[in-house]
């Protein structure tokens, strides 16, 4: 069966420091991969998605970037964190089922920028 991993689970970083969050998927090949941010009271915001190695689509201009160096690895990065980058970051992958894509989510990373 397919599983999705994210790490770290929690992270506290000072303003201006770099960021690297990692997401890996097991049990599937060539998945669609996604990064979301979940902010209190604001729901889920799609940040990036990728349909293949090296293919990244950005949904919202911001201080973050994403990369997909391997088929089942998706990385969220920042060179200099801002206070507004604090939030809960979710990685997801999707599968085609019943004429649509269903998404499955990882456990998330709680990022606090101080």
């Amino acid at each position: 069966s397919q599983t999705i991993h994210q790490w770290p689970a929690t992270l506290v970083q000072p303003v201006g420091s770099p960021l690297s969050l990692e997401c890996t998927v097991e049990g599937t090949s060539n998945p669609n991969l996604y990064w979301y941010r979940q902010a209190a009271g604001r729901g889920l915001q799609l940040l990036f998605y990728s349909v293949g190695i090296g293919q990244i689509s950005s949904e919202v201009p911001q201080n973050l970037s994403a990369s997909r160096p391997q088929d089942r690895q998706f990385i969220l990065s920042s060179k200099k964190l801002l206070l507004s980058d604090s939030g809960f970051y979710l990685c997801a992958w999707s599968v085609w089922r019943l004429s649509s894509y269903e998404q499955y989510f990882g456990p998330g990373t709680r990022l606090t920028v101080t």
Partner: protein, 110 residues
């Protein structure tokens, strides 16, 4: 562009009472609609999708194209239903992205 609106950020009901979580969408085509749920300390997970026309954990949701709504309903709420619920839309079924609403935090009181 498509949009999903969940007008209630917080909703509280008593155990055994009916519950309805509202979801309205704006999209001119024929979208796929989903409900996702996140229980405390658990992952966000798919609850149901309109194309399946099934009842999951006693919840149902009917797509009303005339009213552009996809409300989630359960006739008798249980305490374990307390969670954050998100409505989501896939505009064409083949699109890889989902558009999520802002979520409704449901609390079922004893």
């Amino acid at each position: 562009a498509q949009r999903v609106t969940q007008p209630e950020k917080l909703l509280s009901v008593f155990k055994g009472a009916p519950v309805e979580l509202k979801c309205n969408y704006s999209y001119s085509g024929s979208p796929e609609l989903f409900w996702y749920v996140q229980y405390s300390r658990q992952r966000l997970q798919l609850l149901l999708r309109h194309i399946s026309r099934e009842s999951i954990k006693g919840f149902t949701a009917d797509l009303n194209k005339g009213e552009t709504s996809f409300h989630l309903k359960k006739p008798f709420a249980q305490e374990e239903d307390s969670a954050m619920y998100y409505c989501a839309l896939n505009p064409s079924g083949s699109a890889r992205q989902l558009t999520f609403g802002s979520g409704t935090q449901l609390t079922v009181l004893p």
